[in-house]
Amino acid sequence: MLLSPAILALILVSAVICLMLMLAGGFAIQLLRLWDINSGSELQLRLERRTYLISTLLTWAFASELISLMLFIYNAESMSGQFVGAMCATGVLNVNEWGWPTLFLKIVIFFSGTIWLALNYLDNKGFDYPLIRIKYYLLLLILPMVVTEFYVQTRYFLEMDPDVITSCCGSLFSVDAKGVAAEVSSLSPRDAIFALYGTGLLVMLSGTWYLLRKQGGLIFSLSGIAAFVAAIMSIISYISLYIYEHPHHHCPFCILKSGHDYAGYTLYVPLFLATSLALAAGSISLWRRIPSVNSAVEIYAPKLVYLALILFNIFYALAAWWVWQSNLSMGSIWQ
């Protein structure tokens, strides 16, 4: 176990988010059982008031989840000096089998959170809270993920053992110990390029389709997820190589460092924003038929799709630009 402030902060945050969601989850069960919008009872009034608290709590919880995702990566980066063979964040995540699951869970929770917040926003626009049950069912689905994340992350940090000098034998033991794998394996560049631009095309088409016909929001969301996955794989597979100008360095985290002009932020910020907007757009477009939120869906869903498309385009342009401006040339090697 390592007692560094960043680790303490990450564990603290996960624990608090867990508590917040448990509180909300308990309330969700109560609400799902007792909610009756037509009733004027004191209980119903209390429930309605309580929803304000839950919205606020969850907004904060998901915002903190985003910051903790960033902190998690920064922390992995900064601890790379403490493990034999770990050159950067990738190596630190490979230290034990809990590293990557924690990262993936954090990303999934963040995206689920944006869906929840979008639904919540839409729900508050309708006078009769038409989505309230769906919203709280979704919350009950997110809760186990948050608890798992807390567990997995705690295991990850508890089972870390830094390779420090012991008084008895100096480097002897670290010679015996095998270092952690410093690299991530990657898709072949050709497949990655096809996946990246194929899903990109899919996003553009489904987005335009939605803007023209007001249909297929869900398809847009799903193609957004596919585009996200393809984009991450392409960053690992070939975009990062061009940023590092090194034919074997695939790390998706080192591009966040100052040494590479913070190139990672120019890719990840539009990508994450675009994906979460696409998810939000799809999740609210489903409720067009409900009369009380119909007008809100008509206003907000196209806006979200529009923004998501712009951001996806920015991402693709930047991804192409980083490859184009690089001094590395892999054309003759990859054919």
């Binding site: 402030p5 902060a9 990450l10 603290l12 304000y52 903190s64 980066e77 420090v164 480097s171 002897l172």
Partner: protein, 376 residues
């Protein structure tokens, strides 16, 4: 969009004037909040810079230090070990070093005495670190004395080491090898340790492995290991200080819970009036949210700025002894300012996050109360 921004601007405006109406309470809160940020930020900035500094210094040190062990203790290493090592592929230079510590009871400090072979010094000449020169008031040409083996040896100060390297050289005394052997009684042909330079960092561990096979009684200490150890030790010390400060943090959270969103009769009345003139619960929540943001950000920036000044302009007077270690000949050095996302995000989670969590429920309680119930 413009509508939205304008609405928020009015809310901020209202919140500010409402905060200023209760100066005493809010400045009290701000003060305590700033203090918490200041303490945590000082610790972080200071240890982070020390880590950086250690890394920079060790960049210059040799890749492998070879020590001989006798009965598990560090012992002198014979010069012929260099030959015994033979030719190790990848090693660019092998050098035997002669060095040790001397305790001076007068200034109650330890000197690090080295006999470098690349400097030409006569047996009566010495080069000293700036810390020693400052403490005993010596200048070039003055006489410097070492007491050892019931004897006193005087040297003439030939030079004083550069101020820029003071963190490492403050207590350093450089003398000739001959003088060193006379003072310490280390016989000819024996050395303190052997250092190896390895050009390619990937070969370092292999070289160390070969060394241990050839010479079973030595232990190689790698530079990367020292760096790793420093890294974890500094993080660990920082963690310990943070854990100790958690008590203060908890007190602050309780204080915030109790005070921040203000459920004093007067504030309750204000909320009641606002609701009576048409504010919704959501508006009250938003106003209180801005209140929290204003207080948090002010405290965060003030605290961080104060910590920055404290660490980089006053050398962290408050925390220095705990975090740096103990020594009488303290080097005077200006740390290199270094700020990164990791620090800011960690600090955010230790200060703003608990504050927000602690105030959500009281704020919500205030915002959903019925106006008539409050004003009555």
């Amino acid at each position: 969009m413009i509508e939205f921004i304008r609405k928020q601007a009015y809310l901020v405006d209202f919140t500010l004037s409402s905060l200023l109406r209760r100066k005493g309470k809010n400045f009290g809160l701000l003060f305590v909040y700033t203090l918490i940020v200041f303490m945590l930020a000082s610790v972080m900035l200071f240890t982070h810079s020390l880590k950086k500094e250690a890394g920079i210094i060790l960049q210059q040190s040799p890749e492998i230090i070879v020590q001989r062990l006798v009965a598990g203790r560090h012992a002198l290493i014979p010069a012929d070990y260099i030959e015994k090592m033979g030719r190790l592929r990848g090693v660019t230079s092998k050098k035997a070093r002669l060095w040790g510590y001397f305790y001076n009871p007068v200034v109650k400090a330890n000197y690090t005495v080295m006999a470098p072979d690349h400097l030409v010094l006569t047996t009566t000449e010495v080069i000293i670190g700036a810390g020693i020169a400052r403490t005993i008031g010596l200048d070039i040409g003055d006489y410097f004395t070492l007491r050892a083996n019931n004897d006193t040896f005087s040297f003439q100060v030939k030079d004083i080491l550069d101020k820029h390297s003071e963190l490492v050289s403050t207590d350093l005394v450089l003398i000739s090898q001959k003088a060193f052997r006379v003072i310490t009684g280390i016989p000819e042909g024996q050395f303190t340790d052997i250092v190896l330079s390895v050009r390619n960092p990937r070969e370092v561990r292999k070289v160390a492995e070969k060394l241990v096979q050839k010479l079973p009684d030595v232990r190689p200490v790698l530079r990367e290991e020292i760096l790793r150890t420093y890294d974890s030790i500094f993080s660990w010390r920082q963690g310990i200080v943070f854990v100790l400060l958690v008590g203060a943090l908890m007190a602050f959270v309780i204080f915030a819970w109790d005070k921040a969103p203000g459920l004093s009769a007067e504030e309750k009345r204000e909320i009641g009036i606002l609701k009576a003139i048409g504010w919704e619960s959501g508006d009250i929540l938003r106003m209180k949210f801005w209140e929290g943001i204003i207080i948090s950000l002010s405290a965060f920036m003030l605290g961080y700025l104060a910590a920055y000044l404290h660490v980089f302009y006053s050398s962290a007077v408050l925390f220095e002894p705990v975090l740096k270690g103990w020594a009488t000949l303290y080097p005077q050095f200006r740390l290199v300012p270094f700020i990164d996302g990791l620090q800011i995000a960690t600090l955010f989670f230790f200060t703003i996050f608990p504050y927000v969590v602690a105030t959500i429920i009281p704020i919500w309680k205030a915002s959903v109360t019925d106006p008539d119930a409050i004003m009555r």
